[in-house]
């Protein structure tokens, strides 16, 4: 059982051997499946980085259970991340399929293309090949461009409303003398808990009766409502670590309420506010149920367009859009991480 003794160089050797075996095996069956072998190497090579060396007294049973635990965790992480990453190479498919063609697996250049990305821009345009007026045509007529404009417009305004109202409410909720705190907090979080279909149908009937259905205002109100719980959660979390004596100090030095908020509280809770706003923004950007019920064709958003795309004519254009959205979520995640670090630094916590 020396094989199981922890030794990174040995594990790497085993891994390479298995990869080589897959390569040889697949080459026997016709073509060389380079991609599966490579992905195997990456998927099982990375966990080695995270495995701690085991003490020398560990028994074989201990080692076996440790390695099977690492294997299980690897599989769960693969389960989590594969659906996100698989989309990206699939979107460069030259064929109108939702799957990898043989050419793609062998990295043949003509198996890849950007046609679905072009289709995002061209779909709906009057004349995609025109030279003059191309930009105006794209901006006004391309379906995906229209829905992108709608999505960002609705998400920005609703995130602004949710963040403003949510931050003010969180300031009240985090005060020690706040009455009915539990009741009001659960009311403010409930849009996240109540099933979306119920919220959306309720809003559809109510907004229809006051002529807000099928308008931007209606969709924005709905999305602001759905984003509020996330703002409340993130901002109150930031405020819970807030040193309240700073407020007293500021008041003691003669600052009035607004001055205290702007010069003392706001700079300190800014990271929480921004991450709350991002949460509200992405909630709106990803929301489709309320849009299905409340919005009209004119207010179509990206997820709404994807929804009907998946239901009606499933084309790889959706994969191209999805890849761009994955990129967007990576950017947002990075911003969130930077904000979190900044907020930790402000409180004097550094990663070890």
């Amino acid at each position: 059982m020396t094989l199981l003794k922890h030794d990174k160089s040995k594990s790497v050797l085993i891994l390479l051997a298995v990869t080589l075996f897959i390569l040889i095996w697949s080459s026997k069956s016709g073509s060389i499946f380079l991609a599966p072998a490579l992905s195997f190497l990456v998927l099982f090579g990375i966990p080695l980085y995270f495995v701690k060396p085991m003490p020398t007294y560990a028994s074989t049973g201990d080692r076996l259970s440790r390695y099977s635990f690492v294997a299980i965790c690897t599989f769960i992480f693969i389960f989590l991340i594969t659906p996100i990453l698989i989309i990206v190479p699939l979107s460069f498919n030259a064929e109108p399929y939702f799957t990898f063609t043989e050419g793609m697996l062998n990295f043949e250049a003509n198996a890849f293309s950007l046609r679905w990305y072009e289709d995002i821009v061209h779909n709906g345009m009057v004349d995609p090949d025109a030279v003059s007026g191309w930009w105006g045509d794209m901006w006004n007529n391309a379906q995906w461009i229209r829905s992108t404009r709608n999505s960002f417009f609705i998400a920005t305004i609703s995130a602004l409303i949710a963040t403003t109202l949510g931050t003010i409410a969180a300031l009240g909720l985090s005060r020690p003398e706040m009455p009915y705190r539990a009741l009001i907090t659960s009311l403010l979080i409930s849009p996240m808990i109540v099933p979306l279909v119920i919220t959306a149908t309720g809003m559809f009937f109510f907004y229809s009766s006051i002529n807000l259905a099928k308008t931007y205002t209606g969709v924005i109100l709905a999305h602001a409502t759905l984003g509020i719980p996330f703002v409340i959660i993130t901002v109150t979390a930031t405020l819970s670590g807030f040193d309240r004596t700073l407020i007293k100090a500021s008041q003691g030095l003669g600052a009035r309420g607004w001055m205290t908020f702007r010069r003392v509280i706001m700079p300190l809770i800014m990271p929480g506010m921004i991450s709350g706003a991002l949460f509200a923004f992405i909630t709106s950007l990803d929301e489709v149920v309320a849009v299905i019920f409340i919005a009209d064709v004119e207010q179509r958003t990206i997820p709404r367009q994807m929804f009907s795309g998946i239901r009606e004519q499933i084309s790889p254009t959706i994969l191209a859009v999805a890849s761009i959205l994955v990129l967007l979520s990576i950017v947002l995640l990075t911003v969130m991480e930077l904000l979190r670090r900044r907020s930790e630094r402000m409180r004097g916590i550094t990663p070890s």
Partner: protein, 417 residues
């Protein structure tokens, strides 16, 4: 000799303090008010108004108002009297001219059709000929169509002439009114709502269970690794959490379809024959897999935040005292993670039973959940009241679980990342 400290203006310190606290309490409350009012208008009122629809039943009294009042006096034996028949025909003639939505004969016909399937044409065709009817109205109406002699029909009309009705809940609970007007179990063929509701609960429980199994080791790894490494792995959890739900659903279609990745790998490895590919999407399996993936972060994050606070010395102490790894895990570590487990379980279960998008896209026929049925009644069959009654049942279940969550964990302990 003790004496209360009395300031110059004759107000005790205690009174001043309580006044100051009152002002502060009011200020704190005032800060939350804009949002509370916003939510009441944009969220609470709409839902309340929709739930009102589940008992509000104005059709019959709108379309045939005088008849609706008169029929209440009928004792339910034999057929109603000639006077009531006359009012009915007169109201029908008047209603024929009405074009206002909610007050047409068509609305009445649809409403009674929910109770007695197949009775729709009876109303519309009779209304067309109602002007020609002569007294005695009872006989001429029955002569026009002998279905008017049906006692059950008049019972249904009487029941629905009331503005508030439990009728939609009766339908939503898979019950029906029998010929004598008693509430009984509906025929097996029509028992779709409760069985779907139970199926929704079962699938949600299954999803929650799988989430616990998958999230526990992941949260454990994340909480025990050094911060630098765990931050790196955390990205693998947070990236799916931040990625659009439609992107993830699309991707599962690509992975699980018959020509998809999983089938390809199975065929490549020789587990499946090329012509024996398995359909894994557009059915219950696909729904469960995709929903587990979507809801998994909601289980990992609460578990992680609890596990991070667990002191590793307890485990070390147990091991040094001779406990086996598995025993120490079960008796020392697991009990300390219960708060996180409870939070994650309730959160995932609550989110799962109300899920709509993923089952709608990849559920196929047998992966349909209760939310999809509600949407069907609101968008397609247009039986809004039945949709509202189903919503009320679903909402009630969710609110009970939410209350439990508040009681056990406290909603203010909810955190993301």
């Amino acid at each position: 000799m003790s004496q209360a400290i009395i300031p110059i203006d004759n107000v005790t310190l205690k009174e001043r303090l309580s006044k100051a606290t009152r002002v502060q309490r009011r200020r704190a409350l005032l800060l939350t008010m804009p949002l509370v009012i916003f939510l009441i208008i944009s969220f609470v009122l709409p839902i309340g108004e929709m739930l009102w629809r589940s008992v509000h039943n104005p059709t019959v009294s709108n379309v045939v108002p005088d008849f609706a009042v008169a029929i209440q006096k009928w004792d339910g034996q034999n057929l109603p009297s000639e006077a009531i028949f006359e009012l009915f025909v007169n109201d029908l003639v008047a209603a024929k001219k009405n074009r206002e939505i909610g007050k047409t004969v068509g609305n009445l016909a649809t409403r009674i059709n929910y109770d007695i399937p197949g009775s729709r044409s009876l109303f519309t065709s009779t209304a067309r000929k109602a002007t020609n009817l002569k007294a005695p109205f009872k006989e001429s109406l029955i002569k026009l169509n002998k279905k008017w002699a049906n006692h059950t029909l008049w019972l249904s009309l009487q029941r629905n002439a009331k503005d508030i009705t439990p009728g939609f809940y009766v339908a939503a609970l898979d019950l029906k009114y029998d010929d004598q007007g008693n509430v009984v179990q509906a025929d097996e063929l029509y028992q779709i709502y409760m069985s779907n509701f139970i199926k929704t609960l079962e699938i949600s429980a299954l999803i929650t269970f799988i989430c616990v199994l998958l999230a526990y080791p992941i949260a454990y790894v994340l909480s025990t690794l050094p911060l630098r490494q765990s931050n790196l792995l955390m990205i693998l959890v947070l990236l799916p959490f931040w990625t659009s739900l439609l992107v993830r659903t699309t991707s599962w279609i690509a992975i699980l379809q018959t020509e998809g990745l999983v089938n390809d790998i199975f065929v490549f490895l020789g587990i499946l024959a090329d012509d024996g590919r398995v359909q894994m999407i557009y059915n219950q399996t696909g729904t469960v897999i995709a929903m587990v993936h979507i809801l998994l972060p909601f289980m990992i994050l609460p578990l992680y935040s609890v596990m991070k606070t667990i002191n590793p010395t307890y485990m070390k102490a147990a091991l040094s005292m001779g406990a086996k790894q598995s025993y120490a895990m079960r008796r020392v570590y697991l009990p300390q993670t219960i708060p996180g487990l409870a939070a994650g379980t309730l959160l995932v279960f609550i989110l799962a039973i109300g899920y709509y998008i993923t089952p709608a896209l990849v559920g196929g026929e047998d992966g349909i959940l209760i939310s999809n049925l509600i949407a069907y009644h609101i968008q397609k069959s247009l039986n809004w009241s039945l949709g509202a009654a189903l919503s009320a049942i679903l909402l009630g279940t969710v609110l009970i679980l939410y209350w439990l969550y508040n009681k056990l964990i406290g909603i203010d302990n909810l955190k993301f990342g």
